[in-house]
Amino acid sequence: MAEIQDKLLTHIATLARLSLSEAETRSLAHDLAEILKYAASLESLDLTGVPPMSHATEGERFRPDEPTHDLTREQALANAPDQDAGLFRVPQVIGG
């Protein structure tokens, strides 16, 4: 069980582009197991015939198709760790 948890956690960390130390992996695996156990308590309910609910609220809101400019480029880039020529700048990515 513990090993599966570690593997799962390493997989999720990889997907999230996180690198974790062994100690972090162990501690997070423990926390994750606790969270999953808590969520699993829902399975004790008999939900036969209850349709799945994807959202807590009913009704909807629509937006009109009217363009607005909410931010200037300077504002948009203000918190960027790196920028140049009006672009966010990131370490090189190739493909996709």
């Binding site: 997907l15 999230a16 909807e60 198709d65 480029r73 948009a76 009006g86 700048r89 990131v90 370490p91």
Partner: protein
């Protein structure tokens, strides 16, 4: 090239995923302008930058356009659909997830009627259409730091897309091309998108597998990305088919993977970097309620749909008596269809209208497009009413077919009416038998040898006489009258 025997042994199985950017004024979940080509990062806001606390609100117009696409392709539209988060990390996706639809898309089970160049009809079934937001754009070149950095422009982030997923019904590169052409025509007619591949408003991925003909099970498929023109779709499919057949023939297995098409090398190559990324951990988007499209909305949208290409095609065949293939070419866009129909109505001769539009007009259009880029039919120097008048001049015998071609080129350069050109240049057809008979007498008098040949029973020399008479009348004589009179004159000579 693959040997014919292998080609006969293995069947190509293709499904296409088409991303189409809808032409709303704003993005899918925020009010930023949905504009192509603006300065980088000028059409952004907290929602499409993925800033904490910003909440998406869907555009009603985007849903209406998506609905049009679904109804125009005969899809079943679901009253309730759900947005989901597709999670992955990439610098063009500021939130770390894309809002998409997963297990409950708004439309399923449609169909597209494709028509190949040889006139073969093919129905491609659609698996589904779903709505989703676009990612931003990565810039890999053109900056002093491009060697080791990438730029990110988020103007496109959050742009409204529909993804149209076909069933694996396509069996050749030609069918893929025909399907894309038909799908594009539908989306353009229905005013969903301008479907401009160069601007990226239409993008295509292909799922390709091979199997021995007659086999029921599908082979392992590879997904080919980066197909930025219909031609490249066809070429990439062809390359991938040959690659997979070679693998299977050599006793190897096709690996399920994503491959990138490289147009410069005309080949596909594995994208190992993304292999791990297929685990998207979809879950329902908590920031958006279920999307409800009620019967009234669906009904109004259906009622407002224009005549679609397949219906127009059938009507052109029935109403104007033109072949199916011509009707298909003439309905590729609404513009050309409208142009043709005005010429057909104005001239009262659908077949001639179709011939003139498909040959002369389209050829001139092509020439113009190669030098000027996109050209609209409304900007042409020749108006449909003028072309109709030209056809009437031929049909009433005022000019002959050869003269008409000259008049057409003059109309194209000057924009004048055909009548004005014919009158000024004295091009009207000579149907006056007196003038023609005079010319015939001259020809007969100066050609005793040919007359003798004719008299020996070589009646096919009549064509030579007709040619001489036409020359004498500057090509303007009515060929039918010349033919009849030459025969009479020779028989009497």
């Amino acid at each position: 090239m693959l040997h014919e025997t292998l080609r006969n042994k293995y069947e190509m199985v293709i499904g296409l995923e088409v991303h189409c950017q809808m032409k709303t004024r704003t993005k899918l979940f925020c009010s930023c302008p949905n504009n192509f080509g603006d300065a980088p990062n000028t059409n952004v806001c907290p929602v499409c930058l993925g800033l904490p606390g910003a909440l998406p609100v869907i555009s009603r117009e985007a849903v209406t356009l998506a609905l049009r696409a679904a109804l125009a392709t005969g899809c079943t539209v679901h009253e309730t659909s759900i947005f989901s988060r597709k999670n992955y990390f990439y610098p063009d996706l500021p939130k770390g997830y894309q809002i998409s639809q997963y297990d409950r898309p708004y439309a399923t089970d449609g169909r597209v009627e494709a028509l190949e160049a040889d006139g073969t009809a093919k129905t491609v079934r659609l698996e589904r259409i779903h709505m989703e937001e676009d990612a931003g754009k990565l810039l890999h070149e053109g900056y002093p730091w491009s060697k080791d950095m990438s730029g990110v422009d988020l103007n496109r982030s959050g742009a409204p897309l529909i993804e149209i997923v076909s069933k694996p019904d396509i069996r050749s590169a030609q069918e893929a091309h025909a399907y894309l052409t038909a799908l594009k025509a539908i989306l353009v007619y229905a005013d969903v998108s301008d479907c401009n591949m160069e601007k990226g408003s239409l993008r295509c991925d292909a799922n390709v597998s091979v199997r021995v003909r007659g086999a029921e099970a599908f082979g392992t498929r590879a997904e080919i990305k980066n197909l930025n023109s219909f031609r490249n779709v066809a070429r990439a499919i062809e390359y991938e088919y040959e690659r997979q057949v070679a693998l299977v023939e050599a006793g190897h297995k096709v690996v399920q993977e994503t491959r990138l098409y490289r147009a410069d090398k005309d080949e596909t190559a594995s994208m190992r970097s993304k292999e791990d990324a297929h685990d998207y951990r979809y879950f329902p988007e908590p920031d958006l309620p279920p999307l409800v499209i009620d019967a009234a909305w669906r009904g109004d949208t259906l009622a407002a749909l224009p005549e679609l290409p397949s219906a127009k095609r059938a009507r052109f065949v029935a109403e104007y008596g033109i072949p199916h293939y011509d009707a298909a070419v003439l309905t590729l866009t609404r513009e050309v269809a409208d142009f043709f129909e005005e010429v057909a109505k104005g001239s009262g001769n659908g077949k001639a209208a179709s011939n003139w539009v498909m040959t002369e007009v389209m050829r001139e259009m092509k020439g113009r497009e190669s030098s000027e880029g996109d050209v609209s039919y409304s900007s042409l120097p020749i108006k449909p009413s003028a072309l109709a008048e030209l056809i009437r001049l031929i049909d009433t015998g005022a000019i002959n077919g050869k003269t008409a071609k000259d008049v057409f080129s003059r109309m194209w350069t000057s924009g004048e009416s055909p009548k004005a050109i014919v009158e000024r240049e004295g091009l009207s057809q000579v149907s006056d038998t007196g003038a023609i008979e005079a010319a015939i007498r001259e020809v007969i008098a100066s050609s005793p040898e040919q007359v003798a040949t004719y008299k020996k029973g070589r009646t096919n020399t009549i064509g030579w006489f007709v040619g001489q008479v036409m020359k004498k009348t500057g090509g303007r004589a009515n060929p039918k009258i010349v033919n009849d009179l030459v025969k009479t004159a020779l028989d009497a000579a």
